[in-house]
Symmetry: C2
């Protein structure tokens, strides 16, 4: 909280010279380290159903009119509508951000055929993701409901690290990555915190294995700022939603505060996408512009 109360620093930058000052701040408030420009960019991305239009062309037109240049397709759609997506992107500024899952089976399954199914379908999506220059394919090691699952212990973590090494190197050869997503406890007890996902990336030690944070699931964190700092070079993607009901940012009023997290993103010089993964309570055509205004304002404030 305290970190949010400081008086905004003025930042004067010359060629190789920067002066940050925090005037009139009391000695008990904190000068945010993220005030120095590390080149972070707010690149917003939408999923297919973020926008209300029917066709991809209409969706992309609307996104461009809002200054949104990232698109996060579902992995299933990427495979079944690859040509349609690729054709609709031509001549636009919009690029594909991450790919949202879409594979079958799961990596920690105890059933060989389900593990094999994951290996096969995940690689199909990685192939397509690479072809369309996606930043990476999002994956969850095991949802709570996915059973039988390997037990939650060090052996399973070692197995995961080894499997991810292979998968990451495969993705890297195709010009993309795999992105571990921590979820909240109700969806995935196995991986709930960004620092844990980052530690797995560190142990895997492949440029093809990255992690992400989702402002909704980050209800598990005690500090959004610290979570993103812990991920640093491994942070490849961010999901955003309103923080009370997982709808569109701004729909939950004061709960929708992303400043501490954005400060973390600025501190690590984050340049990947902040992508909407959320529902909508109201009229999308009103709610989406309001969400963008809120997010852009909080990014400036951070």
């Amino acid at each position: 909280m305290e970190r949010r109360d400081f008086i905004k620093s003025s930042l004067v930058a010359g060629a190789g010279l920067a002066v940050a000052s925090s005037p009139l701040a009391s000695m008990t408030s904190c000068a945010p380290c993220c005030k120095m420009d590390k080149g972070a960019q707010l690149n917003i991305s939408f999923q297919k159903y973020t926008t209300p239009q029917q066709t991809l062309a209409e969706k992309f037109d609307y996104m461009e009119s809002l200054g949104v240049f990232g698109y996060e397709p579902h992995g299933g759609d990427l495979l079944s509508q690859f040509n349609e997506i690729e054709q609709n992107l031509r001549g636009r500024n919009i690029k594909v951000s991450a790919i949202c899952a879409g594979f079958s089976g799961f990596i920690l399954s105890e059933e060989p055929e389900k593990k094999q199914l994951f290996d096969t379908t995940m690689r199909e999506i990685i192939d397509a993701a690479g072809q369309i220059h996606s930043t990476g394919v999002i994956m969850v090691p095991a949802f709570n409901g996915q059973v039988p699952c390997r037990p939650h212990n060090q052996q399973t973590r070692d197995f995961l690290v080894e499997e991810l090494k292979n998968l990451g190197e495969y993705a890297l050869q195709r010009g993309t990555t795999v992105i571990l997503e921590p979820l909240n406890r109700k969806e995935c007890f196995f991986l709930r915190q960004v620092a844990d996902a980052a530690a797995i990336c560190r142990d895997v030690n492949s440029d093809g294995v990255k992690c992400m944070g989702d402002f909704w699931h980050m209800q598990e964190e005690t500090s959004d700022f610290a979570a993103f700092i812990s991920a640093e070079k491994y942070l490849q993607h961010v999901h955003i939603a309103s923080r009370g009901t997982r709808n569109t940012p701004s729909e939950d009023g004061d709960l929708d505060n992303y400043v501490d997290g954005f400060r973390g993103l600025k501190a690590i010089g984050y340049k990947n996408y902040v992508s909407f993964e959320c529902g909508t309570k109201g009229d999308k055509l009103q709610v989406i512009p309001a969400a963008l205004e809120l997010i852009r304002k909080q990014w400036e404030e951070a």
Copy 2:
């Protein structure tokens, strides 16, 4: 790494007025938020066998000569030598910091008698800790070798939170706390990261339940800075050791870098103890002063 390379800020503080500037820092380096004085203090603490002397009086004389005013007794010693410890503290500036474990059984045991043994012996130590004004009693939920242990799942986490609530309220009534310690994977897979311990504290929601970080076990973290920021108000204790072999700080040369972590401690205004839990490779009478010099220098630098 980058965060360590900035040019040291100058800090000018007046009554309620602070100006932090980072001269000549390039735009890609980071002005550390922790440069603002949040009242953090470096209070060093030793365990019994940190010092080479035979009697407590000799140990305490030596500690005072070095400016070390915290003492972390083992829980077993606290019970068996309570009067001796208390008498030796009289008329000195040394205070008891945390109490290092000492209970029998463990909180996540599946055997009722072992769980009962934990409840009884832990409360005995808490009673003594409160009487001697300790900051808290350190506990690990389950070492890897402690079996049969409740399975690692959400139900067990819920059980732990409920049990800790009772224990924390008990400790609070006696003027002390219980302190969760994350260990590295080889010792305790169940709780490895400071952010996870902090999230447990948040869920327990008792001022009697806190957490700690141990620079040795923090090999599990990707960022010492982020780990301590995530703990913030829950951080009640810190252990320190050399970072390659768990000996005395400075004995592992360049590996013994605590600056990033100290920056985190400064950023949260940490005022509790940084306590030695480590062996010694060399002559204690030479190594301990060298360790203190290194730690104090790095604290200033942070």
